[in-house]
């Protein structure tokens, strides 16, 4: 026990090494928040399989490696990254190894809308973001969120003013280019009352060596707002990706999210959605992994007030000797009457060594609610394979088509055609390669 604690402490000290060199923020509250986060990192340890929230997810591989904050920034050209562009999403913020790249970005500041990096947006929006930045994500018991907050100095910032609908989707592109580097991508989205916006949070890599992405996203929907949040994790094959996302959905607001995880050696995504009265959310996800990948999705949908609606469909397609984890908690608090919640987790195992752990959790403290949840784990259905073969498709083509279809049901929910097409092609390629 003491040995592992020592390893952990050293590991975290090492990660914190660059922190004191951060320039102080002009905002006193942000400096205080960072200091508090540094303290928390000192008090916490890296989770192990002995922690309930991590009992299926072994990250010891991560703690055996050392990562350092980015020292020199790589200057990329448009030609290097153009292939990641999403046709419809012409408003774009690009971060290279966690560092904002203005020459590759097309920020937007019309009509009071801000799609900028935090350093550029501080002055105009300090008061608006203060209640949310670093505060929506609870870091007191979460060492990775605490690390991110300790390093908080820049971020992707989106502020959509009252009653404004942003028609052009916003693309937040995080590109990894260097090995052994840890980066702390950070996003803050504030959708004011009656506003609407679509945001794509996208993690990609230009190299295949190990690196560590430790991301935090905070999203606040004020009354009657509508946010479409698409999250694409297509990190490099040896990457570690740990992300925390906290969403506050105020009265009568609507939060729709689709998150897909294709990349990284080990990935963990924590999504916490808190619903106020009459709020709605749809939280869908797909993990498509193979080889020795591990993809863990932990979600918590918190019905804090009455009459909120939540829908969740999470799917995993697991090939090779990969390992998928789904832990989906739905909490219905006392007084959250007339809650309507549906959760479904479906898992497809493509090989005998593929592995999935699923843990749907329903905690209800109100008596007038409608809640359903369920999980299935299975292989491709022989009758379905036979049907397709009886139409002339080979066994492989039949299996590919069914696997593709299983994943496509989630991809189809993405409201941006070119991204949908891109991801469908990825699913098609991956399913073709695996069988």
């Amino acid at each position: 026990m003491s040995a592992s604690a020592t390893v952990n402490a050293g590991y975290l000290e090492n990660l914190l090494a660059g922190q004191p060199h951060l320039p102080a923020s002009p905002l006193a509250w942000l400096n205080a928040l960072r200091a508090e986060a540094v303290d928390r990192v000192g008090a916490l340890t890296v989770p192990t399989l002995r922690d309930e929230e991590w009992r299926f997810t072994d990250i010891s591989l991560l703690t055996k490696m050392s990562f350092h904050p980015v020292r020199t920034t790589i200057s990329l050209q448009v030609a290097d990254i153009e292939r990641f562009y999403i046709e419809e999403a012409t408003t774009r913020l690009v971060f290279v190894d966690g560092v904002y790249a203005p020459q590759l970005s097309s920020a937007a500041t019309d009509n009071g809308i801000a799609v900028v990096n935090l350093e550029a947006g501080f002055a105009a929006h300090a008061a608006a973001i203060e209640p949310y930045l670093g505060r929506l994500t609870e870091f007191h018991d979460n060492v990775f969120a605490a690390l991110s907050t300790a390093f908080l100095h820049d971020a992707a910032l989106i502020v959509v003013p009252r009653d404004i609908s942003v028609t052009v989707p916003v693309h937040l592109l995080f590109i990894a280019t260097q090995k052994d580097v840890v980066s702390y991508p950070r996003c803050l989205l504030l959708a004011e009352s009656g506003s609407a916006v679509t945001v794509i949070e996208d993690y990609v890599s230009l190299q295949e060596d190990a690196y560590f992405t430790n991301a935090v996203t905070e999203i606040a929907l004020v009354d009657n707002a509508r946010v479409n949040h698409i999250r694409v994790q297509r990190e490099g094959a040896k990457a570690f990706h740990i992300a925390n996302c906290a969403v506050s959905v105020a009265r009568a607001s609507n939060y729709q999210s689709v998150s897909v995880a294709f990349g990284a050696r080990i990935s963990r995504y924590n999504l916490n959605v808190k619903l106020a009265e009459g709020a709605e959310c749809a939280v869908d996800g797909l993990a498509l992994i193979s080889g020795r990948q591990l993809a863990d999705t932990h979600t918590c949908i918190d019905h804090a007030q009455p009459q909120a609606v939540s829908n969740q469909m999470h799917k995993c397609i697991v090939g090779g000797s990969a390992h998928a984890v789904f832990n989906g908690k739905v909490m219905v608090r006392q007084g959250a009457q007339r809650t309507d919640s549906k959760q479904s987790n479906r898992n497809l195992l493509l090989t005998s060594k593929a592995h999935v752990d699923t843990k749907p959790q329903l905690e209800i403290f109100a008596d007038d609610v409608k809640c359903t949840h369920g999980a299935t784990i299975g292989q491709l259905d022989d009758e379905e394979v036979f049907y397709l073969r009886s139409r002339g498709l080979s066994d492989t083509a039949a299996r590919n088509m069914l696997t593709y279809a299983f994943g496509a049901e989630i991809i189809e929910r993405i409201p941006i055609s070119s991204l949908k097409y891109q991801l469908e092609q990825t699913v098609l390629e991956q399913t073709t390669n695996q069988l």
């Binding site: 259905d381 022989d382 009758e383 379905e384 036979f386 049907y387 397709l388 073969r389 009886s390 139409r391 002339g392 498709l393 080979s394 066994d395 083509a397 039949a398 088509m401 069914l402 593709y404 279809a405 299983f406 994943g407 496509a408 049901e409 189809e412």
Partner: protein, 264 residues
């Protein structure tokens, strides 16, 4: 249409088969020539559906004896997809749903796969669209079907139409229609039957597997076979179906046993 000199498409001799160790087919004989329409009738559990699935190559059934020749080749040696490419088509009693795959994408993939194996040209999406819309008219199907996922949310009748549409596209030599009439209302039955009748020609053959005589009012068979306990025990013309409708199946079995007794 019966022509004694037309060539034999399918020759089944002494076919025996098991599923999960239970013997279902016990020496089935059937000869089908091109241009013919056969109806296989019989009570539930007589082995009708097992027989159709064995012809299509379902792996759950183990053939333990007998032969099945299709156009001179041993059908039992072929994988399901090879049978389909060679011209065997099974219209399923319960077609599967494939959410996430568009019907038009599915139809085009199967059509082009089969065409390629027959040494014919593939169609690009635009050409295929014209081709499939023409075939859909045969079954009075709305073009909306192309936009939907394969069979997802289709009614029973819509699924059966989609099966016959695939038959129309793939142009099989031998089509086996497994309980195609089940779950169809009278209007849907008429449309599906009319589609099948238009597809029947002198070079292909159709085997209708059905429990009820109703379908045979619309698709008139040249032969009616009665199956019981894994064998065909009586063969007659279309009037046999009417007799079965009024008298049930029991008398056929009794007559068959008596005949067998007389032989012994």
């Amino acid at each position: 249409m019966i022509h004694q000199d037309s060539k034999i498409l399918l020759e089944v001799s002494g076919l025996c088969a098991n599923v999960n160790g239970t013997e279902i087919l016990k020496g089935l004989n059937l000869t089908v020539r091109s241009g013919e329409i056969h109806a296989i009738m019989g009570p539930n559990g007589s082995g009708k559906s097992t027989f159709s699935k064995i012809l299509a190559g379902h792996s759950a059934y183990e053939v333990t004896g007998g032969t099945v020749m299709f156009e001179g080749q041993n059908l039992l040696d072929l994988a399901p997809e090879e049978r389909a490419r060679a011209g065997v088509f099974l219209a399923f009693q319960y077609p599967i749903e494939i959410p996430g795959v568009g019907n038009s994408q599915f139809l085009r993939l199967t059509y082009n796969t089969v065409q390629t194996h027959r040494g014919k040209e593939e169609l690009d999406p635009l050409e295929f669209d014209d081709f499939v819309r023409e075939k859909m008219k045969l079954l009075e199907m709305s073009p909306d079907f192309l936009e939907r996922s394969v069979n997802e949310g289709f009614s029973g009748g819509e699924k059966k139409r989609n099966e016959i549409l695939q038959m129309a596209m793939l142009d099989p030599r031998l089509a086996i229609l497994d309980e195609t009439d089940s779950g169809l209302d009278i209007d849907a039955l008429r449309v599906v039957a009319s589609g099948v009748n238009q597809l029947a020609n002198k070079d292909n053959a159709i085997v209708l597997v059905t429990h009820y005589q109703r379908l045979l009012n619309y698709i008139v068979p040249d032969y009616v076979h009665v199956m019981e306990a894994g064998r065909i025990i009586k063969t007659g013309g279309k009037e046999l179906a009417l007799e079965l409708e009024s008298r049930g199946y029991d008398w056929v079995g009794v007559e068959h046993k008596a005949a067998m007794g007389a032989l012994a």
